[in-house]
């Protein structure tokens, strides 16, 4: 394939991912204008991308949900200004009709704004905060002690909470383009904590439980957006940030830009940048840089009879002799705490353990699939035996190992314990909550 063609495909890929720069968009436009064949290929690529989205979503959900969403909203949603504009733009109009309607609309808008400002001045009306633009599944709108199903295009005001059912999600949009997606099991007060004092002009969300993903448009310097939880306060000036909370802890992940995370009492504060996440637990804020490395077992140094095998498209190592043969994998790591996940094959209780040593430390038994034996590969977190047995099942009780390591090169040695325990790869991550799929 020629360089020009490679460039065309790279630009088309960038267009579909929405990450072309202005110069790249101009370059793509020039290519399309000058080559009918590329135009055809480009449109086919856009169609295939959208068809994949549609077909895969339908496979995932059992069916396409557009009809469901539209029909659910149809009787409930009145004509909005936007809908009127969109329809009118689509239909031809006479000069008189256009001007008559513009004058009438302008008068109505002025009247509404006047009434709104007058009422707002006296504190009788709260400004609208966010509009529901997407509902996947089921969600409730709660106000005081009442609740009812949430509807598309509804505006959510202060002291109103949105509760999202399992397997569902809700997308809220603000007038400035800020978007917040509430994920399953979430409960959030869109105007901030119901008992708190509203901050003048700032957007506030109080996430009482669950998880949200937000893309925050640039906010005025003195009016940042606040994303609060029962344990923490996050100040956002414009970035992509995810928040989740349980009763015990709050977690803030930052994809772009930087946010400030504080414990609720304000005693501990930290700046969290892109690629980092913060835990707020027991009023302490801990910032961790996201890092993970995946090491293939077959690339490690092996001591016989640990051997490399290849089956069903997977390269892995295993030894057929009990307690003999090992593989050592090495990684350069920064100082920190790490979880280690291992992709293992443990078909039975006779083939499900290694002796594992970190650097020159003592070996510990790693039961890779205690009670979860399977003929299929699975991810298993590196663990150690606690010395107890689980009542009823009699299985060995294990506890995950979180390794505290210094900056430098580290060795992870897996020595065979039970024959035919197989290892495909290990994943070392700084995220203690990460679970490979």
């Amino acid at each position: 394939m020629s360089g020009a063609h490679d460039n065309f495909w790279a630009l088309t890929g960038g267009y579909l991912n929405g990450d072309l720069s202005a110069a790249e968009r101009r370059e793509l436009e020039t290519l399309l204008r000058n080559d009918a064949n590329l135009r055809q290929q480009f449109l086919a690529e856009v169609e295939l991308d959208e068809t994949l989205r549609s077909v895969c979503r339908a496979s995932e959900n059992g069916r396409s949900d557009i009809a469901d969403k539209v029909l659910r909203s149809w009787p409930a949603v009145p004509h909005t200004a936007n809908s009127v504009n969109a329809m009118h733009a689509a239909a031809p109009k006479t000069f008189w009709r256009r001007h008559f309607k513009q004058v009438a609309a302008a008068a109505a808008v002025l009247l509404a704004v006047g009434i709104f400002l007058a009422l707002f001045q006296f504190g009788k009306v709260q400004p609208p905060l966010a509009t529901i633009v997407e509902i996947n599944g089921t969600a409730l709108l709660q106000h005081d002690n009442t609740s009812r199903p949430l509807a598309l295009a509804e505006t959510i005001g202060r002291r109103e909470a949105v509760s999202v059912a399992a397997g569902s999600s809700v997308l809220l949009s603000y007038a400035d383009g800020t978007e917040v997606r509430l994920l399953e099991g979430s409960r959030a007060f869109i105007g901030g904590e119901p008992t708190g004092r509203p901050r003048n002009g700032s957007k506030e969300i109080f996430l009482a439980a669950g998880r949200l993903v937000s893309t925050v448009a640039p906010q005025p310097a003195r009016q940042p957006m606040f994303i609060n939880t029962p344990g923490a306060q996050t100040t956002v000036l414009g970035t992509t940030v995810n928040a989740s909370c349980t009763a015990a802890r709050t977690r803030i992940d930052v994809d772009e830009g930087r946010v400030e995370v504080s414990s609720l009492d304000g005693a501990h504060t930290a700046l969290v940048s892109a690629g980092e996440f913060a835990f707020v637990k027991n009023a302490a804020v801990t910032v961790i840089r996201k890092f993970s490395v995946n090491l293939q077992a077959e690339s490690g140094g092996r001591q016989p009879p640990m051997q490399r095998h290849f089956a069903a498209g997977i390269d892995y190592v295993a030894s057929s002799v009990a307690d003999q043969g090992s593989v050592t994998l090495e990684a350069d790591l920064d100082q920190g705490r790490y979880a280690v996940w291992c992709r293992v094959l443990a078909a039975s209780s006779n083939a499900d353990s290694f002796h594992v040593a970190i650097d020159d430390g003592a070996e510990e038994v790693f039961d890779v699939a205690e009670g979860k034996w399977s003929p299929h590969w699975q991810w298993s977190q590196l663990s150690t035996r606690t010395g107890n047995r689980i009542e009823k099942s009699g299985l060995v009780e294990t506890a995950p190992r979180i390794l505290t390591l210094k900056t430098g090169r580290h060795k992870f040695t897996f020595r065979c314990r039970e024959p035919n325990s197989a290892l495909d790869a290990i994943l070392i991550t700084s995220d203690p909550e990460y679970v490979p799929e």
Partner: protein, 182 residues
Amino acid sequence: MDEHVARLKSGDRNAAEALIARYEMRVRLYAAKVAPRAGMAEDIAQKAFLLALQNIHKFDPAGDFGVWMCGIVRNVGRQEWKRLATHSRVERDGLSDYIEEIAEMPATSSSEGEWLDKLRDCIDRLPDRAKEIVKLHYSLGISCKEVADRTHTQVGAVKMALVRIRRMLKECISARLAGDTR
């Protein structure tokens, strides 16, 4: 006139679901071309269908429902551009206008169903790694960056993988439509 449109105009709301099913794929494909960002086509299609149902009484029975929908989709798409442009420094540019200009509402195709069947079949035949990326990006709607995080690769590698996957699918569909069932 489309029988479902006729039923709707006569007040039979039950015809809506069948009407949406009939035009959904074509509306989505056109929405994908006028959307400011990939992944917004579903939202635009949804809003366009809602507007069409709310204003079905305005549809001229002598006209083509697909063309009418096309106009609504185009205008909803323009509104989305404006909404995003408010504060996100996203501006409608020459490329957007040009794509809208060259993209027409896809014509009805009797082989659409067969093409979709082949596509599903070809997705099943992808290598496991490719299938995983398709699932994360297309089924779960996860961004390339997050796919890279989850699969522990670089964002660039995920983007290139998507280009390769689409190419493999196109070749597979062409081969299967031509009768090659390997």
